[in-house]
């Protein structure tokens, strides 16, 4: 599966430009405490969080995370989108809460 396959879900809106849609995704991680995510998320996982500030891009880049889903209607800050572009990381937003988007990822995408 790739990041592009996730973009097919109607509940997800791509907030970035889509240059990293070919990156592989083989699982997911959920968390809002950055150190916990940093210490436990694995490369090629999609990360579900409600954090939207620019530091999530540093965490994703260092952990090898190709895509972030910002849940619960939160919107990324401008700096977050700029940094995401720089690092080649895709950001999706969704109105769904973290539990609901994860359920959708499991049921509809088999993650």
């Amino acid at each position: 599966m790739t990041v592009g396959d996730l973009a097919e879900l109607s509940c997800l809106q791509l907030a970035t430009e889509g240059t990293g849609l070919d990156a592989p995704v083989d699982g997911g991680y959920v968390g809002d405490l950055l150190s916990v995510v940093m210490g436990n998320a694995q490369a090629n996982q999609v990360w579900v969080t409600i954090q939207s500030h620019v530091n999530i891009i540093a965490v994703a880049a260092l952990a090898g995370i190709p895509a972030i889903i910002i849940a619960h209607g939160y919107e990324p800050e401008r700096e977050t989108l700029e940094k995401a572009k720089e690092e080649g990381i895709e950001i999706f937003t969704t109105k769904l809460d973290s539990f609901s988007i994860i359920r959708t990822l499991i049921l509809e995408k088999g993650l």
Binding site: D32, L33, L34, S35, V36, M38, G39, A43, T49, Q51, H53, V54, N55, I56, A58, V59, A61, L62, A63, G64, E79, E87
Partner: protein, 136 residues
């Protein structure tokens, strides 16, 4: 080879720049991805601590044939109780930093877990120097 990074304090959202830059350096040098991951996680934690608690500092990274050493030096408030600081879940981060997802109390535990050796020299009112070694 030695690389230096200056870290500004006060804006936790912006922390991680030095770690991200050094990760790119290690990638260009052909260091194994598993080693890069360990260095990235531990260095990020040190960098975050430096920004949140010490108003920034300096990081020196040394790449040798058999190991990578990362030295993070600040002139912040120092750590009054290192034993507590090493415990998972213990944090003195501000409410503002916690709302941004920092202050999980996993900084030192992650540094210890992902490095091969961690040395902490700290003095209240003087500053803190962390030395992290990673075997290649």
């Amino acid at each position: 080879m030695t690389f230096h990074y200056n870290v500004d304090g006060g804006y936790p959202e912006m922390a991680g720049r030095a770690s991200t830059k050094f990760k790119s350096v290690l990638k260009d040098l052909g260091v194994a991805p598993s080693v890069i991951r360990r260095v990235s996680i531990a260095m990020y934690e040190g960098e975050i601590n430096m920004v949140i608690h010490a108003n920034g500092g300096d990081i020196r990274c040394e790449v040798e044939t058999d190991k990578i050493r990362v030295v993070l030096a600040d002139q912040g408030p120092g750590i009054p109780n290192l034993e507590l600081a090493m415990q998972a879940g213990w944090s003195t981060a501000s409410q503002e930093a916690r709302e941004l997802g920092f202050g999980a109390g996993m900084g030192f535990p992650n540094m210890k877990k992902y490095s091969d050796a961690l040395d902490v020299q700290t003095e209240v009112g003087v500053g803190t120097t962390l030395t992290l070694d990673f075997l290649i």
